[in-house]
Structure formats: C-alpha cells, structure tokens
Subunit: 260 residues, 2 copies
C-alpha cells in the first residue's frame, strides 16, 4: 500500500462515518486524488484534517449525484437499491452532516465558501433544467459546466489552504477550474460518443452545439476535442507554479489523461 | 394593521429575500404566529432578529414541503407551476440560504440545533417511507410525528431564546412539542376524514391504527380525538408558566382550536 492508498482508505472511512446509507461504490474519487497530489507537490505534509476535508468534498459530490439522479428519474448511481424518495432525504442529510463537520473546522470563511459552492452547483443544474431541449450557446454551456462541476474542484483547492490558514495559491485554483472544466467536457463528450443519454434527456453539450443539431458531424467532434484540449493546456500552464517533483509529474499525467 | 400583521409582513419580506423562487402562498405561518405570541406573552419586545429567525423557521418548513412534494410525486404546494426537478434544487438552495442567515447570528449553538433539527425531520420522513403500506404501532406513529413536525416547533422556541442569549424556558419548549404533536395528529385526522390521500399513499395514521385497517371505525375516531386532546391538554398545562395576559389567552385559544 502506498501513501495514496492509505489516504484513500482513510477518506473512505470518513465518508462511511458521514454518509447515512451504504455506498456501493465510491467512484474514481478524482477530486481527492487531485487534492492529495497538490498537497504533496507543494511539500505539505498530509494531515487528518486534509483527509476529513477531502471526504467532505467527495460527499458534496455524492449528495449532488443523489439529487441529480432523482431529477433525471434514473437509477441511483451510488447505490442502485436506493429508491428515489429516500435519495432526496439522504441527499439532505448528507448536506447537514457536511455542515456539521465543516463547523468543526471553526472557520467562517470555509462555511461561506461551502454555502457559495453548493448554491453555484445547484444554480448550474437549474440553468441546465431550464434550457432542456434547447441548444445553448457554447458560452452558456461552458458557464453552466463550470458552475456545476468546476466550482467544487475550486472549493477543494481553496479549502485545503483555508483549513491550514495558509495563503491560497491562485494558480492552483485556476488549475482546478480548468481541470474541472476539461473533466466535465470530456465526460459529456464520452456520453455523446457512447450512450447518448444526455441527448435522449434533451441535454445538449459541445458536440451537439458545434453540429447545430443532434446529428453529430466529424467537424464538431474535432472542435469538441480542441475545446477540451484548450482547457487541458490552460490547466497544465497553471502547474508551472510547482517545482519539479514526481507528484507534479503525476498531476501532469492525470491532466493529460483527459486528452483525446 | 395590528402588531401581528406588521410582523407577519416583515417575516414575509424576509422570506421573499431568502427564497430562490416565487412563493404563491405562505400557508398559515402558524409557527411564526406561535413564536410571536410566546415572545409577547413573556414580555419580550419583538426585534428584527426575531422576525428574521422566524422567517428561517418558515423556510425550513417550506424546503421540507418542497422535498416532500417531490417524494410524493404531487403538485408543489407552494407554487404549482414549479416542476419536481426544480423543486429538488430549490429545496437545496433554501437550506443553504438558511445556513448563511443563521451564520450571521454568530452562535454555534444555533447552528448545531439547526443541523440536528433538519436531520431529525428527514429521519422522521425516512422512517415513514420505510414503513409505507404497513400499519405502525401507535408509539412509532407518534415518534415519527414528533420527529417530522414537533422538532421544528421546538427549534423555533429554543432559537428565540438562543438568539437573545437568554435561558430557555423549558415549559415553553414542552408546549411547542405537545402543540406540534397535536397539530400534526389533527392534520392527519382531517386527511383521513376528507381526502384520504395518506391512506391512498399507504401512510397509516392514528385512525387507521386504532381501526386496525383502512375501514375507519367510530370507535377509532373517538380514540383519535382523545389522543389529540391529550396533547392539547399537555400543551395547555405548559402554558401555566406564563402570567395572565391577552397574549396567553390567544395562545390558549389557538391551542384549543386543534380540538376535535
């Protein structure tokens, strides 16, 4: 077991103590992975509080998935035996449990940012629902993506500095924003190339927007890849702030993974 | 316009500033009414903070109604033009907005109690969902009722003391608990006597429990009324702590209104 595995186990154990129902899977835990790599790459020793905070980040993601699955009327991703009625309430309880834990950090800036982040995520989702079955502009689509997804990546990075009462390294927040955007664009792109569940639900992402309709053109695929690459390149540029290390190298690789 | 109307208007104006969507009705605002009567009856001057706090209480109720309506798959009571997808997210945003406002009171006891109350309300709802289509014992039904409904009445009373940093008058908390129980039992009783929507949804309340099935007997109606009366009488006894006043008289009348 390497350090990252040990940390992952500890984050999962916090998650279990906070989550009011059995999680059948934890997903990729990409937010925690990035968070740990960032801490390592700037030479911070990883403390229990970091792992606790990262478990909160994973659970904000989990609670948003729960409510998204209810909204989409689909199977609950984190536990398929859970019905939609319970998912609404478990999502609420997770939010309250998170609030309790964040209050233990005794830092009003952290609470303010938590409130702002969850609200932004909800508002991103609301703007998606309100524009269902309409093809948005590429700008609106990116804005919504950043509200829904990047905001949590940004909160993750900011929070890791705030709980240590250290100055926030803004380049790393920009990294999180660009990485988060590329991550969601890539997810949406994969959906269009495989299950097309977004299209079926009237949610139109980059490839549809570039095609001007649901018949995806070759040209729009290239444009979508280009768009994702732009955010990956922006994210990579932000990593220049870090000194060379094996952690920086892994962070670079993880980011490049979103290519193609 | 009497004092109570002025306060009500101000509470509604706070509610509008906190709620992310248009509320088409505000319900009876019984929690605020009771809160104001309690403050008046112990001779406390009503301050802006009281009205702000009472608007939070109304909105906790509103957000729980939003999520309950989604769970029940029925029309959104507070705004029938709202669809269920948006109701999930608006409920989340209301909870976050409430958290922001409660943080302005700068009182960790208040936040802890808020977290505990919302969690208890959710857990009450969860226990109802888990026992759907089963006739519970009368004890379980009352326990669930107190979790779902009385806990918010209790938080309302406790909070009004906490924000003034005054000692909580426990008899008034007991009043809130008993009043809240009687209030919900009465609501459930009226449902059985009119629309029977609970029975249709497999939710079995006192009259069904006493009948031992969905064919309501005369005897069970009397027993249900007797049960409600017990909580009303307990609530009235708690009011003995108050000195005589027109406010205490109104509080007594409002409580007696729940009688059968």
């Amino acid at each position: 077991m390497n350090l990252s595995d040990v940390c992952r186990e500890e984050i999962i154990s916090y998650i279990h103590s906070i989550c009011p129902f059995k999680l059948n899977n934890h997903g990729k835990m990409i937010r925690s992975e990035i968070g740990l790599l960032i801490l390592n790459s700037i030479g911070y020793e990883i403390k229990k509080d970091d792992l606790k905070f990262l478990s909160v980040i994973e659970l904000i993601h989990t609670s948003s998935l729960l409510h998204d699955d209810v909204i989409d009327g689909c199977e609950i991703r984190r536990n398929s035996s859970l019905n939609n009625k319970l998912a609404v309430l478990y999502g609420d309880i997770i939010l309250i449990n998170i609030n309790e834990i964040l209050n233990e950090f005794n830092n009003s800036e952290l609470i303010k940012l938590f409130n702002k982040t969850v609200k932004t995520m909800c508002e991103g989702e609301i703007s998606q629902i309100k524009s269902e079955s309409e093809i948005p502009s590429i700008e609106d689509y990116i804005k919504k993506t950043q509200m829904k997804t990047s905001s949590l990546f940004e909160f993750m990075v900011k929070g890791l500095f705030i709980i240590r009462e250290e100055n926030i390294i803004q380049e790393l927040v920009s990294f999180a924003k660009n990485y988060g955007t590329a991550f969601q664009l890539k997810n949406d792109f994969v959906d269009v190339m495989t299950s097309k569940s977004d299209i079926k639900n009237g949610i139109y992402t980059a490839s549809v927007i570039f095609s001007g309709g649901i018949n995806i053109t070759e040209d729009s695929i290239e444009k979508t890849k280009g768009l994702i690459d732009n955010y990956i390149n922006e994210a990579l540029k932000c990593l220049d702030v870090l000194e060379e290390s094996s952690y920086k190298k892994t962070l670079t690789e993880v980011t490049k993974c979103l290519k193609g």
